[in-house]
């Protein structure tokens, strides 16, 4: 076992050390990374942010393909990072393992569920880090910690060797401090070159900006215009005729039902300990009715049809990644519950669509980072990555 890296931010799991020396040569040689503690590393028990999950698992027999690919490309894995419990959380507060520091805004949450990965990258402990995004778990910490971070197209990259949450929403993503590094990792993850790229059209999602705090809207205005100037063709419109709150009301029961399908057998058998907020979401998930699911599924299909109209090749939708900068850590649940819903109101668009969305760390509100997002049609991951690199590296 290699020496542990210094971890002033509480970003790493202390009990699931998983150090993997990178190959001597390769496109990522000399770089270091971390992986959310939902990725298997052979010989280590995947913890998933919950001690009772960990206690119920055997050590992984095999290393997750994404981790292996990065190591084979030369990157050294420094360790595993804290995640919200079984990836259920958007703020990055873990009742068992604590809240990783947001190095860009100490005292505020890092965002979750890929909390430790964002914290480790933002704090400069590693060059990049793997996360996962089911309902916003890469995009939100990217926004809160001032990082480049992407939710990839659903189904584009394997989920083998990863702890699942909700099968029709789960995706892999990663974080980097700059767009060049982000693209370098992307080339390995996608096993392809990242081309020079520029969208041909940008849709400014008016209804998405309305969800954000006014200070966020103001802070994002300049960067949004700069991106628009690069692209040229800019249209402002509403994405949803029924309202994004309604779209959120499709995402939440669908994701919850699937998350309950994933977790219920273990929950029943082991009666695990959860932070109350996580347990509450599981209990509510168990209560979702088939009728609600049918309505939500029809809603999802309508969203997909609507977005297919808008998202031709080369088109991007511009929206705030999150409605506000990172809130202060340690607030009462009653202060956080509605915030979660507001976040999902923005993140649900890509979730329902299975589309890639990249958060760009282009703004701050009173010194606290806030991300601007570009969302594209499923499969346009390289285009987003290439554009971000070409425009901002």
């Amino acid at each position: 076992m290699a020496a542990r890296i210094d971890d002033p931010y509480g970003a790493f799991c202390t009990d699931t050390d998983a150090y993997l020396e990178g190959a001597a040569e390769g496109p990522l040689a000399g770089l270091t990374f971390a992986a959310k503690d939902i990725f298997d590393v052979a010989g280590h028990t995947t913890g998933g942010g919950n001690p009772d999950w960990k206690a119920s698992q055997a050590p992984a027999a095999k290393t997750a393909p994404h981790v292996q690919r990065l190591v084979d490309a030369g990157a050294t894995m420094a360790g595993k990072t804290i995640t919200d419990e079984i990836t259920r959380g958007i703020l990055g507060e873990n009742a068992h393992y604590g809240t990783p520091v947001n190095p860009r805004a100490p005292g505020r949450v890092p965002g979750g569920s890929s909390s430790g990965s964002a914290s480790a990258v933002a704090g400069g402990l590693v060059d990049f880090a793997l996360g996962s995004d089911t309902g916003g778990s890469v995009r939100v910490p990217a926004s809160f910690c001032g990082l480049y971070g992407m939710r990839t197209t659903h189904g584009r990259l394997t989920l083998d060797g990863m702890l699942m949450q909700a099968r029709s929403f789960d995706t892999v993503g990663w974080f980097a401090r700059d767009a060049e590094m982000f693209a370098k990792v992307a080339a390995v993850m996608f096993e392809t070159d990242i081309p020079n790229a520029k969208p041909t059209r940008m849709i400014v999602a008016d209804d998405a900006f309305e969800v954000a705090d006014s200070a966020v809207r103001e802070a994002l205005e300049g960067p949004m215009e700069a991106v628009g100037d690069l692209i040229g063709d800019v249209t402002t419109m509403r994405l949803s005729d029924v309202g994004l709150d309604e779209w959120r009301a499709y995402q939440q029961p669908l994701q919850s039902r699937e998350a309950w399908e994933t977790a219920h057998e273990w929950v029943d058998r082991c009666n695990p300990r959860f932070g109350y907020d996580v347990a509450r979401r599981l209990v509510e998930a168990a209560e979702v009715t088939d009728e609600t699911i049918a309505t939500a599924q029809a809603g999802r299909e309508a969203v997909q049809a609507r977005m297919a109209e808008l998202l031709g090749p080369g088109t991007v939708v511009c929206l705030p990644t999150a409605p506000f900068p990172a809130p202060e850590a340690g607030q009462p649940q009653s202060q956080m519950w509605d915030r979660r819903s507001r976040i999902i109101t923005l993140t649900c668009v890509a979730g329902l669509l299975g589309a890639p969305q990249m958060s760009l760390p282009l703004a701050e509100v009173e010194g606290v980072p806030i991300g601007l997002s570009l969302l594209a049609a499923p499969g346009e991951d390289e285009m987003l990555t290439g554009f971000a690199r070409d425009a901002f590296a």
Copy 2:
């Protein structure tokens, strides 16, 4: 700090040692006892079976009056015992601290929430132990562990210095291995002599026996007849015209609502960790509607009116304490959830009435203890205690 007593049953809290030397003289001189970790002992933090509750509390400034009275009467307190989390549980399985052994039926649950107190007494580690009974938390472990145990009349004994659950249901109780010891403690708790006593009439609650497993009914038949022979006047009847399941449906929301009123501020502020089953009950408690409460409150009043008709002075109702002997420990939640409801179907009668109920360890099913209960009108605590002593000591 005195030497810890040997604890082969995992009955005691390891981290809230609270040893109090008994007075040299007094009616309980030379005896030892334990108290459920919801009773304050000055200088110690009351844990309540939940590590996050404990972490949010300061050490108690004052010792709970009941503990002090017992110590002043000569009994030495050996320590504090494990309880179900914040007293919410009827089986005695604590996700944080484990399940105290049922010394009378190893491998089976001890019953809860006064689990460690029952375990410590049944295992002979102490002479008696304090517990509390909100929905059955003394009666059920008494039944499962083969002990004398009583829920006292609601409001009869102070709840000062105790962690509350549901104000209109919370009561103090205690356990002993024999009826003589039980009465000796009762005299100190009630601050009165325990008179010789014999009920003048026994009502056999037919609908309560119907809730029990047939093996339990058979096992209790002999003891029930023996008790009836002592009393002489025996009537068999149904307590409820709407069914005891309906009575349970009054108890559960009322208790849940009050439990949520007690806990919600702490839950909101601290987002504590709970075993999933406990969190589930809290989430469901938060969801109880005012309409349900109104119906349940009207139901409770009807139960009280009905029972006031039946329970003249000297009348006792005879019923099984629990519908079955202690189930095996460590079973899936899905196996336990309905069992909880069946238990409450029996324990709710005294709960709704605020009446005293004493569980007598008079039977076994295949070597596993099962209690026969006598319930009397509020205030008849000494009569029940005195009768048990006179009949069974």
